[in-house]
């Protein structure tokens, strides 16, 4: 496999590929390389991302202050009711706790916080240092659970024990302890759980509205706008609808095994994926509700009638512009690639933090020759790719934004901190509008890269 960009460290070459240049063999899923500036986060981060939106639970980070502080209300996971999740709780371990153990402090913190906030459940996140000092989270949680009469659930998310992906798994395990403890008697046979949507900017409400129009009951949102009581009874749903590459897939698998709830994987980003997702769901229920297919195609048609003329307007300005994508999970990248096709834009680079080998193989299949495919990248590499490909718009998370802006490249925030709803048909409109807003701005004319080009033409 050949690598043209010098910015790629020797040991990282196995994690960069160009479509059309030999067979793809990504050495992904390895630990982040020491000394490289990785965009990757830790196990704790993965768990926090998944569980955070459960709004009536108390989320206590057991560790020193930083881990809690950096995750305080950072995501726009909206709640239609309680907002306990937006507070940042930490045991704020001090030196003496590190030496003598933090169990006492954890117990006291739980005692105090549960009394003060009266949550429906508590998630206790373990951080690196807890893994080292060896506090018995399990035991403390059990004691407190008995004492307070609510579930107190340990999340084994010691940061250094892997990457975000292991954190997803730890979160799923913690939630799975809740599943199966609620009453399911009044749940409709045409019902689903929405998994892997975090209700950023209210996105899950868009999806719920579609499902309502199709006559499908939503039992639990997992976890956007989530509630403990819903999670407890979610095993009563007929189907799990799982979004995103991996965050809650483990939970769906556990539920399939134990409760026989089947699952399907979907994406709500972009037109085809959104429509397909609704059709899959309809398909699943068509024997119980023969009308559902018609209802669904009507829905899709109505939505597209509004959306398509709008997209055509944007497309006029965007045709031929070049895009780079760097997102958390590869699944999202698939949807984005298709979305950009509708806008007539060319994807020249695509990468993710946590893709699997299979993901990357699939990416190679759907991208044009010469497209750079990269796993777990870093600023230097990304900037080298931007320059090489003369990118117009970069789609990434908040950590990539300054790189793009320094280089004078348009940017769309497509990560957990986003404040625009990008899911659903209306989300596609918002997305196109955001890309359009950035791409047509006059400011790019002044950035050095373009000023230099102008000068060359004169």
């Amino acid at each position: 496999m050949k690598c043209e960009t010098a910015a790629v460290l020797e040991e990282r070459k196995g994690q960069v590929h160009r479509t059309g240049q030999g067979p793809i063999e990504m050495a992904c899923n390895r630990d982040s390389l020491a000394g490289a500036v990785s965009q990757r986060a830790c196990v704790f981060c993965g768990s926090r991302v998944v569980l955070y939106p459960i709004a009536d639970a108390l989320h206590l980070v057991h560790g020193p202050i930083g881990c809690a502080v950096y995750t305080w209300d950072i995501r726009g996971s909206l709640s239609s009711g309680p907002e306990l999740h937006r507070l940042s709780f930490s045991t704020d371990l001090q030196e003496k706790d590190v030496i003598f153990g933090g169990e006492k402090k954890l117990e006291a913190a739980l005692d105090e916080l549960i009394d003060r906030h009266d949550p429906k459940a508590v998630f206790v996140y373990s951080t690196c240092i807890v893994g080292i000092i060896g506090d018995d989270l399990e035991a403390v949680c059990r004691t407190m659970s008995e004492k307070k009469g609510i579930p107190v659930l340990p999340v084994q998310s010691e940061g250094f024990k892997g990457s975000k992906r292991e954190g997803y798994n730890a979160a799923c395990k913690a939630m799975f302890r809740l599943v199966g403890t609620g009453d399911t008697s009044d749940i409709s046979p045409v019902s689903v759980n929405i998994l892997g949507d975090f209700n950023l900017a209210g996105e899950i409400w868009i999806i719920r509205e579609y499902l309502e129009r199709m006559g499908v009951e939503v039992v639990a949102n997992i976890s956007g706008d989530g509630r403990v009581a819903d999670v407890r009874r979610c095993h009563g749903a007929a189907l799990n609808v799982v979004q995103c590459s991996g965050a809650t897939l483990d939970l769906a698998k556990m539920m399939e095994e134990k409760y026989g709830v089947p699952y399907i994987r979907v994406s709500y980003l972009g037109i085809e994926d959104m429509a397909d997702s609704l059709y899959y769901i309809a398909d699943h229920f068509k024997d119980i509700d023969p009308e559902i297919t018609t209802k669904t195609s009507n829905l899709v048609r109505d939505e597209l009638e509004v959306l398509m003329p709008e997209l055509a307007r944007f497309r006029k300005d965007l045709e031929g512009k070049k895009v780079a994508i760097y997102v958390g999970g590869a699944f999202k990248a698939f949807s984005l690639i298709k979305a950009f096709r509708h806008l007539g834009m060319q994807v020249v680079m695509v990468g993710s933090q946590t893709g699997t080998e299979e993901d990357y193989r699939e990416l190679e299949e759907i991208t044009d020759p010469g497209t750079i495919i990269v796993d777990d990248s870093n600023p230097l590499e990304l900037s080298a790719f931007i320059k090489e490909k003369d990118v117009d718009v970069f789609v990434g998370g908040v950590k990539e934004r300054p790189i793009a802006f320094k280089m004078g490249v348009g940017f769309c925030d497509h990560n957990h901190e986003r404040k625009e709803a990008l899911e659903g048909f209306v989300g596609m409109f918002n997305f196109a509008r955001e890309i359009h807003t950035s791409a047509i701005s006059p400011v790019w004319k002044f950035v050095p890269r373009r000023e230099q080009k102008e000068a060359e033409h004169e």
Binding site: S90, F160, I386
Partner: protein, 449 residues
């Protein structure tokens, strides 16, 4: 009510120690901040810093995994340093520890020593290390510790005595660092500012991405700090061992400890020292700035006189703010910080003599504590960083944003509060915040205020 029976922290009013160290290391020319610990900490801190400065902020990490946590992180630290060298060709790597490596007991100075022996044949960068466990201290300790470590570990000898002045400004914005450098220039003084984040964390648009942003204090200038005529160090709540004190003890460079020059008197003190050091009188432009500021205070005093303010943030910042409030007639009612140095009350007693009423002073608090007290105290105004926003919203009072982080407004990296000019800008913002609230709350919609 008090913290005694209160064990956990809700919405902390502090950040973790290595974050401060990383920021300080970012202010040295061609330097790379490096966290010895697991990957997550570095990634989180980068995101947090980037959201404030809107600039690239690379922080390398030794990315320890489970087995390193058990067998020691030394090999990964070394490997990480080699990778950073390959990729960035830095002049300096600033290594800060994290909770993890402090807990497993990695002996960083020993590992770095070994590293230098093993790879002595390579063109090695300067290696500075600072111990920054977060279970002991806050980001300010990380900042001060990193600056002290540089003065200690990068300076080796005194070769002559020059007219140059060292300035250790503390954690102030890039805009204020530029401001301070201008002031020295106008006094005709040659200055070494450490750290100098004025360009590294607020740089221009670029043609080519720079792995390490241009700017920062050059290593040669740091090494020559031992030759300086004197040092000036801002901060009334600093620990016993600082960069200024270290240079004084080791090389006899006298250190002037001053408060952060926020407001009239603290700036007067700063100007005094500069005038004495340079042998020049205060340049006319600053006399004019001061005059205009006093004029503005008079023009605006009725709008804000007697307003009750809650002030929170890093200790030395809040001391400076209290000093200024005492000059403009705003009554601080609660002064709070997340750190615990035990020095806040003493410092405030020194600068707040004009206050009609002594504020409540609280160290080691979180926003839960602040809110509990502020509810009773009924403030008109809050001064601090972005993290208090939701409380201000609940109370219906304006938040004047100062310090770090500013995540919900634009231009935090350029905010100026230091010197007469900075005080003027801050004053305008405070008056306008009060006016804006008055206007918004009024049914009449006055166009004249």
């Amino acid at each position: 009510m008090s913290k005694t029976n209160y064990v956990s922290t809700t919405n902390a009013c502090k950040l973790c120690t290595p974050l401060g160290a990383s920021l300080a290391f970012r202010g040295v020319e061609k330097s790379v901040p490096f966290l010895h610990g697991s990957q997550g900490c570095a990634t989180y801190m980068r995101r947090y810093i980037i959201s404030h400065f809107r600039e690239p902020m690379d922080i390398a990490s030794s990315a320890l995994g489970e087995k390193h946590a058990v067998y020691g992180g030394g090999p990964n630290l070394k490997k990480g340093l080699l990778n950073v060298m390959k990729k960035y060709s830095p002049r300096v790597v600033g290594v800060a520890t994290t909770c993890l490596t402090e807990t497993i007991g990695d002996h960083v100075s020993g590992i770095l020593h070994e590293f230098k022996e093993e790879f002595g044949d390579l063109d090695l960068p300067e290696l500075v290390h600072v111990s920054t466990p977060s279970y002991n201290g806050t980001h300010m300790d990380g900042w001060t510790g990193a600056v002290q470590a540089m003065a200690d570990q990068l300076v080796f000898e005194k070769t002559e005595t020059t007219e140059s002045v060292n300035l250790f400004p503390g954690m102030v914005s890039p805009g204020d660092v530029r401001n301070l450098k201008d002031i020295f220039e106008h006094f005709g003084l040659d200055v070494t500012v450490l750290p100098d984040i004025s360009e590294t964390l607020d740089g221009p648009a670029l043609l080519d991405y720079e792995p390490i942003p241009s700017g920062g204090t050059p290593v040669e200038r740091i090494q020559a700090m031992s030759n300086a005529a004197c040092s000036i160090e801002f901060g009334r709540c600093l620990p016993g061992s600082t960069a200024g004190i270290t240079l004084e003890n080791k090389y006899g460079v006298p250190c002037h400890g001053l408060g952060m020059p926020v407001g009239i008197r603290e700036t007067d003190r700063f100007m005094d020292v500069l005038a004495k050091t340079s042998g020049r009188s205060v340049p006319r432009r600053y006399l004019m700035d001061r005059g205009r500021l006093v004029d503005a205070l008079v023009d605006g005093h009725k709008y804000i006189s007697g307003k009750r303010a809650v002030i929170y943030g890093e200790e030395d910042l809040v001391v400076g703010l209290v000093a200024f409030m005492s000059e403009i007639g705003v009554q601080p009612i609660l002064v709070a910080t997340g750190s615990k140095t035990g020095k806040l009350a003493g410092a405030i007693a020194k600068v707040g003599s004009d206050l009609r009423q002594q504020p409540l002073i609280r160290e080691g608090v979180d926003f839960h504590d602040i809110a509990e007290q502020a509810d009773e105290l009924a403030p008109d105004l809050v001064i601090g960083h972005s993290k208090g926003y939701r409380y201000c919203r609940d109370w219906g009072v304006p938040l004047v944003r100062v310090g770090f982080p500013i995540h919900d407004r634009f231009g935090g990296q350029r905010l100026r509060i230091l010197g007469y000019g900075g005080a003027q800008k801050l004053y305008d913002r405070i008056v306008n915040a009060v006016l804006e609230k008055k206007q918004a709350d009024s049914h009449i919609g006055y166009g004249y205020l």
